[in-house]
């Protein structure tokens, strides 16, 4: 299946150079399977997000086909690595729409990539489920654009609520240079007042930085700080957490859902103990109460992914899972690949229980998650645990 896809796409690739692809385009139209297009940051700075997304899509497309496909047709995944580069993402999206003639697009690891693509999918009237975080993607609502992950705004809200409950009112921010970091930082800086929280320090670090003790020392010596919040993913937060431990800073450290994976605990080591973050249920699938609606789906995905890829799940793979499942459900409900019908079906998604939470889309809400989708997690004994 994969090899078949590979060969056809190699042909298509050659066609670009030979630019004699009129035939191929014709052939592409005539193909049977339902085509799901994807562009993901499989390499580049956001690779730790894009990689599990890619793996999840490939794996579950395979499973669905093994189970007979959708509407009696096989699914075909056409995916490209946009390496977190918006320009690349735009070109690949164009390729998916114009060249591969996909029926819908699931992808866009980062907000930048997604935003760069939105004008295209809107113009092409192509159903598009984004896997990126920022609220700007769905606010204002764009007819053809949906998004799976909890927004960074929700993450801020969840964290601030938890801070309130712990009587923490003066906090420091430390964030990286990435889009994820910056946009969550911006959201938090918009919301903190509503929750009666003052941001008394706001530090940043650079990509590839090897040490953040300077910034943390500054924070440590800022009068009145009660907690630290570190929006970001990948290497940065791990180093921040380690340095946090090194400097022996006692106040609570909050991370973002950007590091919601077992990997983070491995990277940060002992220093991760006591770190809190808002994460999806899937991270604590096995300790979810039996009556939790998400338990079954979360446990199933967790075990499927971990047994198959021999690596820990992350919420990002979960976004891809939900995206694919909602897409499939929509295809079934629409009963065809008619783009308008599929779009309406996605918008009509109600009470879909996914690994990220329970989705209730509407004409005014193209994300469909509420705060309940986020669980406040804390690292205890080298593992994620639910904060009761």
């Amino acid at each position: 299946m994969k090899s078949m896809q590979a060969t056809t796409s190699i042909k298509r690739g050659l066609a670009v150079l030979a630019a004699s692809c009129v035939l191929f385009a014709g052939a592409a139209v005539a193909q049977e399977p339902i085509k799901i297009g994807a562009f993901l940051a499989v390499t580049g700075p956001a690779a730790s997000l894009g990689d599990p997304e890619q793996k999840t899509l490939e794996h579950y497309v395979g499973k669905i086909n093994a189970a007979g496909g959708v509407l009696g047709r096989k699914l075909q995944l056409v995916s490209y690595d946009s390496a977190g580069d918006a320009e690349k993402a735009r070109t690949f999206a164009k390729r998916l729409i114009e060249q591969d003639k996909v029926d819908m697009i699931v992808g866009g690891t980062s907000t930048g990539e997604t935003m760069a693509v939105i004008p295209l999918v809107e113009a092409a009237q192509m159903p598009f489920i984004s896997l990126a975080g920022a609220v700007v993607i769905v606010e204002p609502v764009k007819k053809w654009v949906f998004k799976m992950p909890h927004s960074d705004r929700m993450a801020c809200e969840k964290i601030f609520i938890d801070m309130q409950s712990r009587k923490l009112s003066k906090i420091a921010l430390i964030s990286g240079p990435g889009g994820f970091d910056k946009s969550m930082r911006a959201e938090c800086l918009k919301l903190n007042k509503q929750y009666g929280i003052d941001v008394v320090a706001d530090e940043t670090y650079g990509g590839g930085d090897t040490d953040m003790t300077a910034q943390l020392t500054k924070i440590k010596n800022t009068a009145g700080v009660q907690a630290v919040l570190n929006p970001g993913f990948g290497q940065g937060p791990a180093i921040v957490t380690k340095n946090y431990g090194q400097l022996g800073i006692a106040m609570p450290l909050y991370q973002s859902h950007g590091v919601a994976s077992k990997e983070f605990i491995k990277l940060a080591g002992a220093a991760a103990e006591g770190v809190r973050l808002p994460g999806a249920a899937v991270l604590v699938a096995d300790d979810l109460p039996a009556n939790d609606p998400q338990r079954s789906v979360a446990v199933a995905y967790k075990h499927e992914y971990e047994s198959h890829f021999k690596s820990d799940i992350s919420t990002f793979g979960g976004h891809a899972y939900d995206g694919l499942m909602i897409a499939v459900a929509a295809l079934k409900k629409a009963g065809s690949t008619d783009k308008a019908k599929v779009r309406d079906a996605i918008e009509a998604t109600r009470g879909y229980v996914g690994v990220d939470g329970t989705y209730n889309m509407s004409a005014t809400d193209h994300m469909g998650l509420d705060l309940t989708a986020f669980r406040m997690l804390e690292v205890k004994g080298g593992n994620w645990t639910l904060v009761k």
Binding site: A6, S9, I10, R12, G13, L14, V16, L17, A19, S20, C21, V22, A25, V42, T43, Y80, D81, G84, D85, A86, E87, K88, R90, T91, F92, K94, R95, I97, E98, Q99, S110, T111, G112, M115, A116, P119, A134, V136, P177, G178, G179, D181, K182, S183, A186, T204
Partner: protein, 364 residues
């Protein structure tokens, strides 16, 4: 004599024009147009950069910065402040030119790797400002850009953009070829080969370096503005130093000191990733291997190496010395890419390794 000397240049221009006009026959959908447009825009940057690197022998690892300033300048003025795009673009271009002029003099005093570092640093600084000042620039997530409009006419859709970019590419090539054959252009090539030799015939090396630096910055800036309006969105990715490296690679890959080489380099290295995309995880590896291989086997870059091959063939064919001489003369007087001149392929960094001939005198 003049007719012969003019032909390679007008010939090349015509050939390029024909390609641009005929290409759409092969472009079956707007995705291919999109790739073609990206090629065109990159080519415009590379033509300017090649004037600096290939002809004047001054390396720059910071031109993505100028490209980015062009893009963000247009984006911010046109989208945030609602300027007419054309005015936004011209203002931006002027600003970039001014910046290049100001930083050019101190930076271009440096030589070789130090110049590389300085330009690289300049690019990084521009990048940092753009990513950090997110109030204005939208930060790492970038900002969307309004379509380009002149009066009532809106530039939208790949097909229109294709012709616009194609035309501009031709203009860029034409300008570059003109400059190279002007006294200023000769001065640049001269100071590349021997700065002291150029100085003692009255060439103000510093001024000429700054001049070509500004020109190349302007090319990059304009391409940046266009790219922003075309794709309707800008992110700092295009300002990053890796993009600067990409641009230099295109120039060297196609062939330094060969204007058409710059175009070819841009074309190949822009389409290659599209071809290799299907290789998934192996893409990066193969891309690197292709780059290495080409530079190892065609060290002067694709166009000059091939041009030279053909030339030697022709000389073999008519092994009449005089004729051969003429051929060389014609080639040489156009772009040393076509000439047998080793020197112009010597980069700025190798003032150390002087050509054999020049050591001859001392030895005697």
């Amino acid at each position: 004599m003049l007719a012969r000397l003019a032909s390679p240049r007008t010939g090349g221009l015509l050939a390029l024009a024909v390609v641009i006009v005929l290409l759409p026959l092969a472009l079956s959908n707007s995705y291919f147009y999109d790739v073609a447009i990206l090629v065109g825009l990159n080519a415009i940057v590379c033509i300017g950069l090649n004037l600096l690197i290939g002809y004047a022998g001054q390396i720059s690892l910071g031109h993505a910065g100028f490209f980015g300033l062009g893009a963000y300048g247009s984006a911010i003025l046109a989208s945030r402040y609602g300027w007419p795009p054309l005015a936004a673009m011209l203002t931006t271009t002027l600003a970039v030119a001014a910046l290049a002029f100001l930083v050019g003099r101190p930076i271009l005093r440096l030589k070789g790797h130090y110049l590389a570092m300085a330009t690289l640093g300049l690019g990084v600084i521009i990048f940092m400002v753009i990513t950090t000042e997110d109030k204005v620039t939208g930060g790492p997530d970038g900002i969307s850009v309004v379509p380009f409009r002149i009066g009532g006419f809106v530039l939208q859709g790949e097909r229109i953009w294709y012709w616009v970019v194609g035309a501009l590419l031709l203009v860029a090539v034409w300008l570059a070829l003109n400059l190279i054959e002007s006294p200023a252009g000769r001065a640049l090539r001269a100071l590349h080969s021997s700065e002291v030799g150029a100085e003692v015939v009255g060439i103000n090396a510093a001024n000429h370096k700054v001049m070509v630096f500004v020109i190349s910055a302007v090319f990059a800036s304009i391409a940046g503005s266009l790219a922003a309006h075309y794709s309707g969105f800008v992110t700092p990715g295009k300002v990053a130093f890796l993009h600067s490296i990409e641009l230099v690679t295109m120039v060297v890959f196609g062939g330094m000191a060969s204007t058409f080489g710059a175009v070819v380099g841009a074309a190949v290295l822009t389409t290659l990733p599209q071809l290799l995309a299907v290789l998934k995880d192996y893409e990066m590896m193969v891309f690197g291997a292709v780059m290495m291989g080409t530079m190892i086997f065609l060290p002067r870059g694709v166009v000059p190496s091939l041009a030279r091959l053909i030339q030697t063939r022709r000389q073999k064919a008519s092994n009449n010395g005089g004729e051969g001489g003429h051929e060389q003369g014609a080639g040489a007087s156009h772009s040393c890419g076509d000439a047998t001149g080793r020197d112009c392929h010597r980069p700025p960094t190798v003032a150390v390794l002087k050509p054999r001939q020049s050591d001859g005198g001392g030895g005697v």
